[in-house]
Symmetry: C2
Subunit: 356 residues, 2 copies
Amino acid sequence: MKNRQQQESKNNESQPVVKNINDLAKILNVSATTISRVLNGKAEKFRISKKTQIIVMDAAAKHNYLANKIARGLKMDRTDTIGLILPDISYPFFAVISQGVESEARKFGFSLILCDSDDDESKEKELINLLLSYRVDGIIIGPVGKDYEFISHIYNSGIPIVLVDRCPTVTEIPNVSSDNYQGAYDAVNYMISRGHKRIACIEGSPDLPTNYDRVRGYKDALKNNNLQVDKNLIVGNYHSIENGYKNMHILMNIDPPPSAIISLSNRITLGILKAAKEKRITVGREFSLISFDEQLYSQFLEPPMTTISQKNREMGQLAVDLLLRNINNRNESGSKGLSMKLKTDLIIRESVRRMI
Amino acid sequence: MKNRQQQESKNNESQPVVKNINDLAKILNVSATTISRVLNGKAEKFRISKKTQIIVMDAAAKHNYLANKIARGLKMDRTDTIGLILPDISYPFFAVISQGVESEARKFGFSLILCDSDDDESKEKELINLLLSYRVDGIIIGPVGKDYEFISHIYNSGIPIVLVDRCPTVTEIPNVSSDNYQGAYDAVNYMISRGHKRIACIEGSPDLPTNYDRVRGYKDALKNNNLQVDKNLIVGNYHSIENGYKNMHILMNIDPPPSAIISLSNRITLGILKAAKEKRITVGREFSLISFDEQLYSQFLEPPMTTISQKNREMGQLAVDLLLRNINNRNESGSKGLSMKLKTDLIIRESVRRMI
DNA sequence: TTGTAAGCGTTATCAC
DNA sequence: GTGATAACGCTTACAA
C-alpha cells in the first residue's frame, strides 16, 4: 500500500489517493451513500440526478476505485464466493469439473475458492471449516466419498452445499453426477451385441458410489442378456495404473481368459495397456476393451479406444446452478433432495472386436 | 443462518447460538479481546492465565466457533488469500500448476481464488481487478502472454505479483518458468546425435515467449552442430491438435521430407499422430518425433514417446514462495526482478530412430 | 435528491 | 492479566 501511494503521487502530484469510498466522497463533495448507490446500480431507485451519476462514475474510473468486497461482505453477510473442494485438482476429470464450476460461477458474479482434499477425509473436513470461516456463500464438494456424515451435518445447519461426482445413493444434499449405472450397462450391452460372452471388469475403489453403480450396471447388463456373472472376472480395487496393470495380468492367466474387459477408469486402462504390451497381446484382437472416461488422447491410442464419456463440464455447471438456487432462497428448501444424473455417451471406436 | 439457529436450538435447548466472538465473550464472561488473543496464539504474549486459555479454547470448540476471516481481513488489511489466473484450467499442464500453487499456499495458511482467463487478454484484465477488489494478498498469473503492460502497471503500484510459464524475456515482475530454450536444445541435440540432419519444428503461437525460446533452442542446436536452419522446416502457429495435423501434412509433402520433428506442445503432437496414421507412416520408423510436455499417456503411445518434461508442479510451488516473499516484505523490494528457470528433462523412449 | 449515523466481526491501542 | 473502545470500508434505515 505504501508503494502504491508513492507511485501514484509521483505520476501526478495533484491526484489524491483514493483508497475507499470516503476518499472519493470527499473529493466529489458527495456522501459515501450516494457513491455506493450509483456504483451499485441503485441510482434510479433513489432518483439520483444524471449529473451526479456521471460525476461519480467518472471519478471512480479515473481514480481506479475498486470497491472493497471484503467490507461489503462483512456488511451484507454475502461474499460472492463459493468454495470448491475436489479430491485431486490435477486429475483431468476434476480439472474439467472445476472449469465448469468456475465459468458458471463467474457468469453469476461469484468467485471460486479452490481446495484440494488430496482424497483425504480429514483434510476435507478441515477445508470445509476453512471455507466456512471465509464465509463463502456455498460449497460444492466432490467428496472423498466414504463418509458423508460431516457434510450432512453442515448442510443441515443451513449452509448451501452441492455434491458432485461421488454422490451417496440416498441423501438430502442436492447432488449431480453421471449415470454411472447406465454408462457401464450400455458398454457391456454393446460388447455382448458384438458377440462377447466372457466379459471381465476391473474396478476402482469398491466403497465409492460411482464404482458401485458401474459394477451394478455391468452385472445387470450380463443378467439381462442371460449371461452368468462370474465373480472371478470382477477384479481390482483402485483407480490407478498399477491396479489396472496387476489385474490385467491376473485376468489373462485365467483359463480361458475373458474376451473383453470393461475398465472403470482411464488410469486403470493405462495399466491394462501396459500389461497387454508386455504380454504381446493386442487390444481389439486378442481381447476387447472399453474404458470409462473419454480423454483427449483416447482416439490416438492404438487402436482408437471405445470409451464411456462423462459430461463433466456440465456437471460443474449444473452444480453451480443447484447451489445458486439454495443461496438465493436461504429460507426455502431450494433444491433439497434433488439428485441429477447426467447421461453418459458410449463413444464407439475400434477397441472392441466383433466376435460373430 | 436462520436454518442454522433453528437446527441448533432444536438439538440442545440450553446451548445458545455462537455467531461471533462477542456471543462467546458474553457466555464466558470474558472480553472479546481475550478470546481473540487466545485463539490467535497470543496468550503467552499477554500473559493470559492458563485457566482462561483453557476455558476459551474449550468453549470455542464446543460451540463450533469459527472466527470470521472476512471481518479479520477488513481489520488487518490482509485476507490470507492469493489469486491465481490461468489461461485454461482444464488443460492438464495448468491443472498441475494450480495443484502446486494450492498445496504450497495452503501450507502457509493461504487460500486460493482460482480464475480462468480463457486465453483472453481483456478477461485477464478484468480478473485482476476483480481479485484486487477481493483484496487478495497477492496474485499469481499464467499470463495470456502477449501484452504485459497492465500487469506491470499493477505490479508497480505495489501489488505482489508473480508470473508463471509465459514470462517476458525482460521484466521486473518476479517470474518462474521452464527453461524452454534448453528443453528444445537438448531434444534437437539428441536427435542430431542419433544421426538426424533434416529436423523440422512445429510451433505454437509465435508471439508467446515460451514458444520463442523453444524455437531459439531448436535453431541454436542445429547451428552448433553445423547444420543449416531451413525456414521451410519451421511451421505451425498454434498449440492445437488441428495445427499439428495440418502442418504434419505440409511437412510430409516436402521433398525430401524431414526425418525428424520436434513438436512444441502435446496437442500439436496428437495432431501429428493423427496425420501420420492417415498417411500410414509410423513414428520411430518413417519419421522420428520428440514432443514437449510429458503426459501420463506418453509412455503408452505406440511407440512410447520421447518427451521434454517440464516441472510444472514445482513451478506452481516456487511461484507461491516468490509471492510470499513479496507479501511478507511489503516495503522492501522482495523478489523484484527475480527470474527462475526450471530445468526440463528429456525423457528418452522409442520415438526417435537411430539413423547411424 | 442527498446525507447522517449505526453496525457488520474483528483486532490494536490504551487503560487499569 | 484483562477489558473498553475505536477503527477497518461498506450498506442501510432513517432524516431532511
